[in-house]
């Protein structure tokens, strides 16, 4: 399962047993922005903002991004939802489509 940026950041914070306040302060972000990073699908955050977090957790920015393009919740359409589905899950649905005719 591909982890999203939200899951990555939250998991790292929990692992280090840090509060929102602590991480936000060390990364130079506002607490509410960090909460949004963890709980909302924000359009891709800037490298500058992620840089601070990457420093705090001692990981690369690439790792934080989880290798996944996030769409904003407002403009998700079905075909885009489909694209954000993992290739494995898509393949399973295609198999189902085939099996329906058998």
């Amino acid at each position: 399962m591909t982890e999203t940026i939200r899951e990555r950041i939250k998991a790292l914070r929990k692992k280090e047993k840090l509060t929102l306040d602590q991480v936000a302060e060390q990364a130079g972000l506002s607490k509410s922005y960090l909460w949004e990073l963890e709980n909302r699908d924000l359009p891709r955050p800037s490298a500058e903002k992620l840089g601070g977090l990457a420093r705090v957790f001692n990981v690369t920015i690439d790792y934080l991004q989880g290798g996944e393009q996030l769409e904003s919740a407002e403009d998700k359409a079905f075909f885009r939802e489909y694209q954000s589905m993992s290739p494995e899950a898509r393949a399973r649905l295609r198999r189902m489509a085939k099996a329906l005719d058998e």
């Binding site: 909460w35 079905f78 939802e81 993992s86 649905l93 489509a97 329906l100």
Partner: protein
């Protein structure tokens, strides 16, 4: 029978009348997938639902999948959902089939967010409404919790057991008909994820907007903000004016480990009747969304 142009309520009522007539032993915990397969075979012999299966969809709740031939449909639901959530997902995809398959011949994939109602997409909202109406018929629900009751999580929880749906689905269903001013709030780490108000609460200005703007912090004096998750706060604590919406309030809060979310139900006293309350056009659900109160279940 011609089903062209049927709306979601008509569909849900149709199946509920059918179930009432048949009156199977577990009337309100019926097998949704079986119902979809059995009924569409007769109603839509040209493109019925022939399979309802579980698979690993990695974060997607469910999908409505057309056969390559376009002569059959399948419902696929993601692994790892609680039974109540699973039933809602299947009902949600069944709703897509009945209401949207002509418009989306290539099928529909519903993300987790789409099936717990935080989405603004009209088709997802319709599928959720259909699932709510189908699984939690209003006439029966009102007998369990009267419109003037102020239920706690136990009362609503017994409804979620009765209809085999998630607690959140049952809370949202109840909020849609209650005459009380109440609001349901989901939160984590001190901020509101999303919230939903009853009509009476909403009309009196009691709502929390989460779809736009900065995250909203939980009120400082609330039990949920202080993370006091005790049996006592779950069964209800009374707050004076100045904690919730600057009014006296009764708060019920508990923490769900599984969903890593705090659930809060706040009951307020009835609003003072306003003399000019007549004549203001009410918003419909969609406009209400656009204003940013949040939405529907699992």
């Amino acid at each position: 029978m011609d089903f062209e142009g049927w709306g979601l309520q008509r569909w849900a009522n149709h199946f509920n009348q059918m179930l009432n007539k048949a009156n199977p032993p577990d009337r309100y915990r019926f097998d949704v997938g079986a119902l979809a397969i059995e009924t569409t075979r007769h109603m839509f012999p040209g493109d019925p639902i022939t399979k309802v299966e579980e698979d690993d969809l990695e974060g997607f709740a469910g999908a409505l999948v057309p056969a390559d031939s376009r002569k059959r449909w399948g419902i696929c639901y993601g692994k790892g959902q609680q039974p109540g959530r699973r039933r809602f997902t299947i009902a949600h995809e069944f709703g897509h089939y009945l209401l949207h398959r002509k418009k989306y011949p290539n099928g529909i994939h519903s993300s987790e967010a789409a099936v717990d109602g935080r989405t603004k997409l009209e088709v997802e909202r319709e599928a959720n409404e259909f699932a709510s109406w189908l699984l939690m018929p209003l006439d029966d629900f009102r007998k369990q919790i009267a419109p003037r009751d102020k239920p706690d999580f136990d009362a609503i929880g017994s409804c979620s057991d009765r209809y085999e749906v998630s607690l959140v689905a049952a809370v949202l269903r109840w909020l849609r008909y209650t005459e009380r001013r109440s609001i349901f709030v989901t939160s984590v780490d001190g901020y509101v994820k999303w919230a939903w108000s009853s009509d009476a609460a909403f009309k009196s200005g009691v709502f929390i907007r989460t779809s736009r703007g900065d995250p909203v912090e939980l009120p400082a004096g609330s039990a949920v903000r202080q993370e006091q998750f005790t049996p006592e706060t779950r069964s209800g604590v009374d707050h004076p004016v100045g904690v919730w919406f600057n009014q006296a309030a009764r708060e019920h809060s508990f923490w769900s480990d599984k969903y890593e979310t705090a659930y809060t139900l706040v009951h307020l006293a009835d609003a003072e009747p306003k003399l000019w309350a007549e004549g203001k056009p009410l918003e419909d659900t969609y406009e209400r969304f656009e204003r940013g109160s949040s939405e529907l279940p699992r």
